[in-house]
Symmetry: C2
Subunit: 452 residues, 2 copies
């Protein structure tokens, strides 16, 4: 028969079993951490009607969308989890209780140009808190805590959650009479790290038609830095000149005030006035998270406060705050940087049973007993050489191998070998289970990510 060459589309991550277990472990950590903060899991379709999904319309994303006809229907694959959330909340408004706290880990699709480390199908892990009409600032203050706990639980230490407030920026530019140019100014200022202050000054004055005085003011403002308290103090100087600015400063002060009660260490947090987030719809606190040793990766967890989640679907005012982790890209980058823990247990089983008799009843009964005791067990009854079977366990990282021959069966014992140490015991089934479980407990733990 003529064969079709098997292949996986470029830009689509497909992992081998061991890294897949690492990826699943990451997702588990996220699910558990989000649950601790009272978020409920949600699942929405991958396919939506194009009319609904593209209600906002325009923008860079639209070109990247997987859009197609099926019968009469104009369909699109979701390109993020925010638009489906907006639709969900608008559609199910009457069945939900607000504030509505949900997390969603799901695949999204963007037909970007294929390049290393860019994916067309990738997981996003999102949390959002949606209010009905209003939403208290404490929700914005809680987000750094969630980011901190999430990355800590994954095993990261050297990361920083950077926070700013859009009202501070908008208020500041309003003071200078530059409200209209603000978006363009922010885009320019965002390049400060890359192109330097002089170049930014040049673009501001020449291309964005900002006066030299204002350009200086902007550069001074944007470069305010130091400890969180120092930054807040320097910002205090601008107070009283614009109500939006004042409100933003108050919010930022609140976010900073509760940090320690929320368990966020100072070294994992910074007020950073250069952060604006590209998206237009953020209106308050904005977040970015960077790995201190890998700044080139950019933000690995971003988000912010918005005033109107579902304005394209409903008259209801639905303010919220949310963050998103691009999980597939993060996983890829962690792998590239060799930050994934090679000692994480990725074996598909804890024990491999090698029956040495024709009648398998005893081996099967032992496997059943092990499983009933929560030990992940595989029977290996293929016609292969003994050495091959041991090598199989070895390759998969299965820590224990059990041999069950006539002698053992007659003596009522089980021969159990720990592959790493070579230590072999002959104990009855119960004692063997006890030994294996103790060994597994000792080996357990260890985070997905290990920093060098």
């Amino acid at each position: 028969m003529a064969k079709v060459a098997p292949r996986t589309l470029s830009g689509f991550m497909e992992l081998n079993p061991a890294p897949q277990v690492q990826m699943e472990t990451m997702m588990d950590v996220l699910r558990k951490t989000y649950a601790l903060y009272g978020f409920t899991p949600l699942d929405t379709p991958v396919i939506e009607s194009s009319e609904v999904l593209l209600a906002k319309g325009g923008g860079e994303t639209e070109k990247q969308i997987y859009r197609f006809q099926k019968g009469d229907a104009d369909l699109s694959l979701r390109f993020d989890l925010t638009v489906p959330l907006a639709k969900y909340v608008a559609l199910h408004y009457n069945e939900l209780s607000f504030p509505f706290r949900r997390f969603q880990i799901g695949k999204v699709y963007r037909g970007e140009r294929a390049q290393r480390g860019r994916f067309r199908e990738f997981y996003q892990a999102d949390i959002d808190v949606i209010g009905d009409g209003k939403l208290d600032i404490i929700n914005e203050a809680e987000i750094p805590s969630i980011i901190y706990k999430t990355f800590s639980a994954l095993g990261l230490k050297r990361f920083r959650i950077c926070v700013n407030n859009r009202k501070i920026l908008n208020g500041f530019y309003a003071m200078l009479g530059l409200t209209e140019q603000a978006p363009e100014i922010m885009r320019t200022v965002d390049k400060l790290d890359k192109i330097g202050a002089e170049k930014v000054f040049k673009i501001l004055t020449e291309d964005v038609s900002v006066s030299p005085e204002n350009a200086h003011e902007i550069l001074n403002f944007i470069q305010i830095s130091g400890s969180d308290q120092q930054v807040l103090q320097e910002l205090d100087v601008y107070k009283g000149r614009n109500p939006v600015f004042d409100s933003g400063l108050e919010e930022l002060t609140t976010v900073v005030r509760y940090l320690s009660a929320f368990g966020v260490p100072e070294e994992n947090f910074a007020v950073d006035l250069t952060i604006a987030r590209g998206l237009d719809y953020y209106t308050g606190t904005v977040y970015e998270t960077t790995l201190l040793d890998y700044p080139e990766i950019g933000s690995v967890c971003s988000g912010g406060r918005y005033d109107n989640l579902a304005e394209y679907y409903t008259e209801k005012q639905l303010p919220g705050v949310g963050i998103s982790i691009g999980l597939t890209r993060l996983f890829y980058v962690l792998g590239e940087q060799k930050l994934l823990n090679p000692d994480l247990n990725t074996a598909p089983a804890d024990v491999l049973i090698l029956p040495m008799t024709d009648d398998l009843s005893h081996a099967v009964a032992l496997a059943t007993l092990l499983r009933e005791n929560g030990v992940r067990t595989q029977l290996h009854c293929e016609q292969k050489k003994f050495k091959q079977k041991i090598s199989y366990a070895d390759k998969l990282g299965i820590p224990y191998v059990i041999f069950l021959g006539e002698d053992e069966i007659n003596a009522g014992v089980v021969a159990c070998k720990e592959l790493a140490t070579g230590e072999q015991t002959k104990l009855d089934a119960k004692a063997t289970i006890y030994r294996i479980k103790a060994g597994l407990d000792a080996k357990a733990g260890g985070t997905v990510i290990v920093e060098r």
Copy 2:
């Protein structure tokens, strides 16, 4: 602004938060049970190249496929998890160890005509064991055990795993010289329950040109029933007439022999000669699972043994055995039949904290402490009436509410109310956590499914 009416496509399941938790719990049970049997989790792309996905070509499925162009690429959404597995094993053959045991829970897509209880996007939960060249019969014998443990863990009791062997059927029809007509005969015989023996006889003799003698033989054969041992004994009569039949009978005998060692109770298992499974590629043991009180639902977990998983992609002989649960449909049906446990804890949090002071530091610190102790905690700081907040906890099923006012803070205690009983305690934080965790433990347990 003009609004777009929010809607979810018909045939796409989108659950409210509480049922979503039930669904997630089901998936968790599946993941845990599959892991106990040494299956490793796998994830493959939802989109594949059409050439790869449709390598087999033809068939009913092709019309239902979501297929579209993106740039130059001819793409399709996967319609099951078997074809992607075949591609995966062929593509990653050199990186895998065999037997390769994987499970996958993922969404698949079929553009069927929309009707109640039929879904266009639905989860399948599959397990497969793939051998390299050969695969021992014990793997086929193990499958009923996995099905049994899975459904038991979900909470079902009244179900039956029905097993047959394609070799027995093929061998039997070969004895009668009816090999060519066998597929059509099996399709006809499959309708026995629905249309009765007389009608089957009529179709066999008139439409499939089977002689009346053979039609009688077929009907007698297919209606062999009784205990597993009785069926095997009656089949013994046919032995020695066809090697394929004999081999099938030996396999079926092996599957039955190990049942009790695999922990499968007799009442949950039956040899059923009417089962053939529609798909052509099954070659040995085949499985169906029916809910005894809801036979009209059909099989909720099916599969079988096949000889050649990836014949469209590779010359390698890759025999395997697998089963699949149509999870979305099962969930829907369970809901319709009111079999989902209404007492399952679906609350997004264990505790709702209501701060009664302007400064939230104490409340935040308490929330942090609770979370560090594994208690899922939500702070409720919105400007709403006290009654509304209690009603919020009530609606979401959050079992405990904590009030934290000046008095409590000054006294170093926490007022904690269990909503179900109204019981209120004023204890310090540690004792409160202890009380809550004990209460949660007492409430825990309970399966997703509860039979009446």
